[in-house]
């Protein structure tokens, strides 16, 4: 029996959903991408916020959006900055122009960096990381 105590595993930084963003996080938990649309002018916006910056309406509704998009930019993270991500390095984070008209930043899995280029199609996927929180990631879009 060992008497040494392993140090506590570093905790993953988790989002704290707000009154504005709760529907987005609830959507991810249900494996759906829910984006905020202005109820007055119909424009989509992300990240969630109280007022439409186009027409200033405070009325909005979250609607399910398609999961495909195209690469806008990316980085390969070698230095973890947060200890939780040390095991995962190096990891790619892709910034994707979603077909729905917003941009989403998320880790990219199962695609080599050498295969990346601006405009390459990717698809959003879902990783439950806790009872309440599911985080997005990207994979290759087989349909594209």
């Amino acid at each position: 029996m060992s008497t040494t105590t392993a140090p506590p595993a570093p905790e993953r930084p988790l989002p704290t959903p707000t009154r504005e963003s709760r529907p987005y996080w609830d959507g991810l938990r249900e494996h759906r991408l829910m984006l905020q649309h202005c109820a007055a002018c119909g424009k989509v916006r992300h990240y969630p916020r109280p007022v439409c910056p186009h027409c200033f309406s405070m009325e909005s509704a979250f609607k399910e959006a398609p999961l495909g998009g195209k690469v806008h930019a990316w980085t390969v993270c070698h230095h973890p900055f947060d200890f939780f991500f040390k095991q995962a390095t190096p990891y790619i984070v892709a910034l994707v122009d979603m077909d729905a008209g917003v941009r989403i930043n998320a880790p990219l899995r199962n695609v080599a960096e050498g295969d990346l280029e601006i405009g390459r199609r990717l698809r959003l996927a879902f990783e439950p990381v806790g009872k309440d929180i599911t985080l997005p990631y990207f994979v290759a879009d087989q349909g594209g």
């Binding site: 963003s21 990240y47 806008h72 930019a73 390969v76 973890p80 900055f81 995962a88 984070v93 998320a106």
Partner: protein, 386 residues
């Protein structure tokens, strides 16, 4: 029509602490030490300071300055919470204060324990302006400016053919300048090969593409130009100064164009206010949080076209004796990271003719930029007055 702020304010005093990695002093103590140096440089007494703009968050509020410097009658206290764009943007606020008579001498001070205190990885989540990044980006592994800016750098490389060699030229030139300056964190030569061999932080940024985590303090005094004329130092006036905020200011990821940021708007205001253009600059102090951000700012400022920032910095053009010497003190990449107030100090030093081994002959006019908080920008154009 001449802008009402043009040449109405001057930087009358400059002060710095040692730039180090490791200090027992608090960020507040560093701010105050630099402040006393700047006040003495101007030939003023602490009692003459009636406006104060401390760095936030960075240990120091108006009450601290009143208590420590015995300020008898502070008429303006303010924060300018724009990250790395703070110091140059604070020049605008100070210029407005002295030009309108609200203040006579405004103290702008920064103190940072970026090495001994809170490190870059944890700072992001503490700032209210980064709440969105903390909610949406930190959980997916994007914490630090190095990661968030790296995506823009990658896009620039993909679109315009910008290369690591271009980045290296910035890093190596800043180091060469730092070595001429006695007060720096990094004082050993850096080669292009060493830059390319340094460890990857967030691709395309390697270690030597990133500014330093360091400890230090810096301060400047802004006085009305008429007041400054009768003070101790040669008169260096602020010809034009402005701040600018990008679309989607709290998240680079949501910005329609990752490569457009607040400096675009600041430049569109500061150059006309000064009545001069980029070609008139003898020296430029460019906020170098990363090598890449220097390239992109040169494009935005109009020294070259978008996409040409990489080739522009080559062939010794940004070194001493080059067409546009940049960061003649070593910058944030090699001197130390005090949120760019060291860039302001170096510009003033150059225009006073007091930059020592890095002095540019007959430097009469120059600019300094600030860049921070995910894309806020600021620009000041200064000249040595006759």
């Amino acid at each position: 029509m001449t802008h009402p702020l043009r040449d109405k304010a001057a930087v009358s005093g400059i002060g710095e602490t040692a730039y180090t990695r490791g200090t027992s002093k608090s960020a507040l103590a560093l701010q105050l030490e630099a402040s006393l140096a700047a006040i003495a440089d101007a030939g003023l007494s602490p009692r003459d300071i009636d406006g104060v703009v401390p760095y936030f968050p960075g240990g120091g509020i108006a009450e601290d300055f009143i208590a420590n410097l015995g300020l008898p009658d502070l008429t303006l206290s303010a924060f300018v919470p724009m990250g790395g764009a703070t110091c140059v943007a604070a020049l605008q606020m100070a210029a407005m204060a002295v030009a309108t008579g609200v203040c006579k001498n405004v103290l702008i001070a920064v103190g940072r324990t970026g090495y001994s205190g809170a490190r870059v990885s944890t700072r992001l989540q503490q700032f209210p302006q980064f709440a969105l990044a903390a909610e949406f980006e930190a959980p997916i592994g994007m914490f630090a400016p190095a990661q968030l800016y790296a995506q823009g750098a990658r896009r620039h490389m993909e679109l315009y053919g910008t290369t690591p060699r271009h980045f290296a030229e910035v890093a190596v030139t800043m180091r060469r300048h730092a070595i001429l300056n006695g007060n720096v964190v990094m004082n050993k030569p850096l080669s292009v090969e060493e830059h390319h061999a340094s460890r990857m932080i967030s691709d395309p940024f390697r270690l030597f593409d990133c500014s330093l985590e360091s400890d230090g303090g810096a301060a400047v005094i802004v006085s009305a130009a008429d007041t400054a004329r009768s003070l101790k130092q040669p008169l260096v006036t602020i010809m034009g100064v402005a701040e600018g905020h990008p679309e989607s200011p709290a998240s680079i990821a949501q910005r329609p164009d990752l490569l457009e940021f607040g400096l675009v708007k600041a430049a569109a205001r500061a150059f006309p206010m000064a009545g001069v253009g980029p070609k008139d600059m003898d020296v430029a102090e460019i906020y170098d949080c990363f090598t890449f951000t220097v390239l992109r700012q040169l494009e935005i400022l109009g020294f070259c076209k978008t996409g040409e920032g990489g080739p522009f910095v080559m062939d010794g053009r940004i070194g001493l004796g080059g067409e546009l010497p940049i960061n003649t003190h070593g910058g944030l990449l090699s001197q130390g990271h005090v949120v760019g107030l060291n860039h302001v100090i170096e510009l003033v030093r150059q225009l006073r003719g007091a930059a020592g081994k890095a002095q540019i002959e007959d430097a009469e006019m120059g600019l300094v930029t600030g860049y921070g908080d995910m894309g806020d920008g600021s620009l000041a154009i200064m000249r040595r007055a006759a």
